[in-house]
Symmetry: C2
Subunit: 391 residues, 2 copies
């Protein structure tokens, strides 16, 4: 049995509900044994995650059932409630899939975590491995300002237009803005949840999550039915950082959870960036702290984000140039002669040398250059500054 098989296109998810095998058979399957273990313990469990890596999930689960998985009582506390068949049924019911290491869709990038997820519950049209391969996490405050939401939406749109996916946490504020910006530009976006794949959190985001599923994917490490407890947000944040090539914090207060995503990305040696904002804005104070401590690089647009996220030389951000002035490129003598030439009064160029403090012998050449550039007007032997062209 392969719980990871995705619904064929055109076929409503869960329409051809396969009969779910009994628990005893599911527990003999690495995929479902991983799901079972993920039900027993919280993400990143110090005992079971390494044990699975060594022994595999089927054997680890058998060890738990036999009381041979270490002495930590919390390993066994949920054993009476374990019903892997119910997990499989729920996954099927909501049209999701369980992705484990070895599956083509498994995002190997998450293996960089010290204790990677045992399995991932995925729902949506995206291929998690493919689409996060060129992705950037964009995270930030739930209590975002208009400025922050606009910047996040712009960034989501910019990523989409450059063929990159966005990854975020489906929360209000920055998260929702980046998902929406990406979707509006026809891009792929991935929402990583801190609760079960069957739950809508926050409750007002049912429609947003449905749109993410249609054009991207909703992902979680938590089994169906799991509530979004505070510590699970930290686990979720580490997953957001691990799934993407780089992490950008758009707005964050000093206590924003998005700072943990940034720190996790830094721990993984992935690029971390932050948007600046007004120094008077509490929702930028967390970004400014990341920048002050050099945890994050300052970025102001998608080009600069992709320069960090992309492989070296792949996406180079153009430098802003500011206003172009007609006097750009003048040499010091030309510039000094030009600046002492009056705008309204005609003067003999020979009279400019003293005011300019330049060698009189250099003045004729400077005047010729300035005239050729249209910066000086000439009337016989005399010159004056050319009027700036009308607007």
């Amino acid at each position: 049995m392969n719980g990871a098989s995705r619904p064929t296109s055109g076929e409503p998810s869960g329409a051809r509900a396969a009969v779910v095998p009994p628990a005893s058979r599911l527990e003999q399957d690495e995929r479902w044994a991983r799901a079972a273990l993920g039900f027993l313990v919280e993400p990143g469990h110090t005992g079971l995650v390494p044990m699975v890596k060594d022994l595999g999930a089927v054997e680890t689960l058998a060890a738990v059932r036999a009381g041979r998985a270490g002495r930590a009582a919390e390993t066994y506390v949920r054993l009476p409630d374990l019903d892997v068949r119910r997990i499989a049924t729920e996954v099927q019911r909501v049209g999701a899939r369980v992705v484990v290491p070895g599956d083509p869709e498994w995002p190997v990038r998450v293996e960089a975590l010290r204790r990677p997820p045992l399995c991932l519950y995925v729902s949506g049209s995206a291929d998690l491995a493919d689409d996060t391969g060129r992705s950037v996490s964009v995270v930030g405050s739930r209590m975002a300002s208009d400025y922050g939401r606009a910047a996040a939406a712009d960034l989501g749109e910019g990523l989409a237009s450059r063929g990159w996916a966005s990854v975020s946490g489906a929360a209000t504020g920055i998260d929702a803005a980046v998902h929406r910006g990406t979707l509006a530009a026809g891009g792929c976006t991935v929402a990583v949840l801190a609760c079960g794949i069957d739950r809508v959190y926050p409750r007002t985001h049912g429609r947003l999550l449905e749109a993410v599923r249609q054009h991207g994917a909703v992902v979680t490490e938590m089994p169906p039915g799991s509530a979004p407890l505070p510590r699970r947000f930290l686990a979720r944040n580490r997953l957001i950082a691990a799934l993407s090539r780089a992490t950008v914090v758009v707005e964050a207060s000093l206590r924003s959870g998005s700072l943990s995503t940034a720190n996790e990305a830094a721990t993984l040696a992935r690029p971390v960036a932050a948007y600046p904002g007004p120094v008077t804005s509490a929702t930028s104070a967390g970004c400014h702290r990341l920048l002050r401590h050099h945890v994050a690089e300052l970025v102001t647009n998608v080009d600069e984000v992709l320069e960090l996220a992309a492989s070296i030389g792949e996406e180079l951000a153009p430098e802003g140039v500011g206003e172009i002035r007609p006097t750009d490129g003048l040499d010091p003598v030309e510039h000094q002669v030009w600046s002492v030439t009056p705008l309204r009064r005609w003067v003999d160029p020979a009279d400019l040398a003293s005011a300019a403090g330049v060698d009189p012998a250099l003045v004729p050449r400077a005047v010729a250059v300035l005239e050729a550039l249209g910066l000086l007007d000439r009337d016989g032997d005399r010159v004056r500054k050319a009027s700036p062209p009308a607007g």
Copy 2:
């Protein structure tokens, strides 16, 4: 004769106008010979400034008069117009003083420049050496936003309240805001001009410059009568950087002259800082570039500025802490137990272990801690989350 003597307090400047000696005698005086050379060439002249360092100003001036000061024709171009007596008369007329190396008021800090000023024209109540000893340059765009002006005024005020002087360029926008903020808080501020000490530039800043003179100083390297030519602003900017312990750019477009002040400070290995702003603001783009290129450190208030400007350990900026939450300091088990405890329903603590995924044996202690902290209410054997205290 000592042109650097400052007017005695209570005596209107210029009230007892001394008779100005003839030029021949003035040119024998190092002070006035320096002033004369400063009239002949633009600031930072590659020929005369090193020559003065080697031979002294009197000898250098004699060499110029004899045509023995190198072949560069621009060294001699203003010689016919040189009238050092007129300079001295003008200085006296406007109640200014000429400060040269060796004077107690000479700010030795400027000697860090590759080609320091030959002399400084100073007007005002401050002692230039003393008051710039603990000073920060605050510079930025003339076309500043309300945000930038408010931040600059705040910073000027903050510097004053901490006993530091501000240095800026008396321009509109950021410069004016920092001068005014410092003055409003009763502090000392120094305005460095790109024109002669006798000129008011910009014209609308006559009253501001008068206030700066009363509570600080107006300074320039240019002799009286000099116009504020574009290249003199660059020379002036290097002087602003050299006079102060650190330079802060509050707002700057990509073409703002204040970026040259920042680069000059960096060249002098003085601390450089920049305020962030919205990524949508063109007047912050220059600051963001300085930060992206790690020319400047990001700062958001006077504490952070002084941490950079002060000697190591002298002024440490307090870290922002964000909101304090009652659950801060809980250990992971306590936090997880607290987060699964319902707010409205009474539960048996023993029932919390599975939901929390923690060792049941650890629950009683966690509950006791949470109760002691007022985070749980108890009703006989049962508990529930304590309601958050009313705002």
